[in-house]
């Protein structure tokens, strides 16, 4: 596997450590092959995060839609669109992540919901879990958290 840094540089211990970790993460990134067609909804108020989360999901072959507020998420789900996974930010405009999660669950949606937030304080974690998410993680969403979830949804 080609190293990320050019081979001409004298590799320091730190470089080797970085390359090792990167190789491990690349392995996580590439080792999943989805057998089923999975769909995901990303509900994120921050454009950069939402775009990245969608791209990460698409890199695994997950068909992904994105909305930037809770109200649009509710409307999309109410229209009958089904998702295997919903990734929802705590901070949203119009309808916040906690309330949107409660409403989605009240609509009878039982799919996997992953709550994301910039700060992983215990009170925030408890609040999000109580609202109805299955998993709570601190941003940014990364393969180490995502891949096990995708494997589970794919029945692997």
């Amino acid at each position: 596997m080609a190293p990320t840094l050019p081979s001409g540089d004298q590799a320091s211990d730190q470089d080797n450590w970085d390359n090792g970790r990167l190789a491990h993460k690349r392995q996580l990134l590439t080792e999943i092959v989805l057998r089923n067609r999975l769909t995901a909804l990303v509900v994120g108020g921050d454009t950069t995060c939402r775009v990245l989360e969608q791209l990460l999901l698409r890199s695994y072959g997950v068909q992904t839609q994105g909305v930037d507020n809770g109200r649009d998420a509710i409307a999309l789900i109410a229209s009958g669109v089904k998702f295997n996974l919903i990734i929802i930010d705590m901070i949203l405009s119009v309808l916040n992540g906690l309330e949107a999660t409660r409403q989605i669950r009240d609509m009878g949606v039982h799919c996997k919901m992953l709550g994301v937030t910039a700060c992983s304080g215990e009170s925030e974690r408890q609040a999000f879990l109580a609202a109805g998410v299955d998993v709570f993680i601190e941003k940014p969403l990364d393969p180490e958290h995502l891949v096990p979830i995708l494997r589970e949804l794919d029945g692997q």
Binding site: T4, P6, G8, Q14, L22, L52, A118, C119, P140
Partner: protein, 150 residues
């Protein structure tokens, strides 16, 4: 042995961004998503970040001018900003965001204002460094394509 001096310079610049604490491993995650189909992906995401977060910086500036300070509002804005910054691996910016939120929690106005000034400095410094990095990367990119064996 790396024969291309520009490539060496790019690698050295990249390494310094991590060694000096400007970036964390999330930036490497972005690099993982870059490929031949999306050769400028990382630069595009960083550009998006700076465009998107400019609005938050402005809102924070305005909120910090009000008296008395609305710490709940400030905290909410910084929460968003922190999330965005962490998504590109902006390590120092993220650290200042965390500190700011701590000051909000304790209602420390002076701490908030001082930290915000430092945050803006780190934000601007990172932007300059990444602009230099991407400019060099773009110069190397076409050279690499031209020299790639057919």
């Amino acid at each position: 042995m790396e024969r291309n001096p520009m490539r060496r310079q790019l690698a050295s610049l990249r390494k310094s961004l991590f060694d000096q604490g400007y970036l964390d491993e999330q930036f490497m995650e972005l690099e993982q998503l870059q490929d031949d189909a999306n050769p400028n992906f990382v630069e595009e995401v960083v550009t998006l970040y700076y465009r998107d977060s400019a609005r938050l910086i402005l809102n924070l500036d305005h909120a910090l001018e009000r008296r008395p300070l609305d710490f709940s509002k400030l905290d909410g804005l910084m929460h968003q900003f922190k999330g965005s910054s962490s998504s590109i691996g902006a390590k120092k910016v993220k650290a200042e965001s965390t500190l700011f939120r701590e000051y909000c929690k304790y209602g420390n106005a002076e701490g908030c204002m001082r930290t915000f000034q430092q945050l803006k400095k780190e934000y601007a410094t990172l932007r300059k460094k990444l602009e230099t990095y991407f400019q060099l990367a773009r110069q190397i990119g076409p050279m690499e394509s031209a020299n790639r064996p057919k």
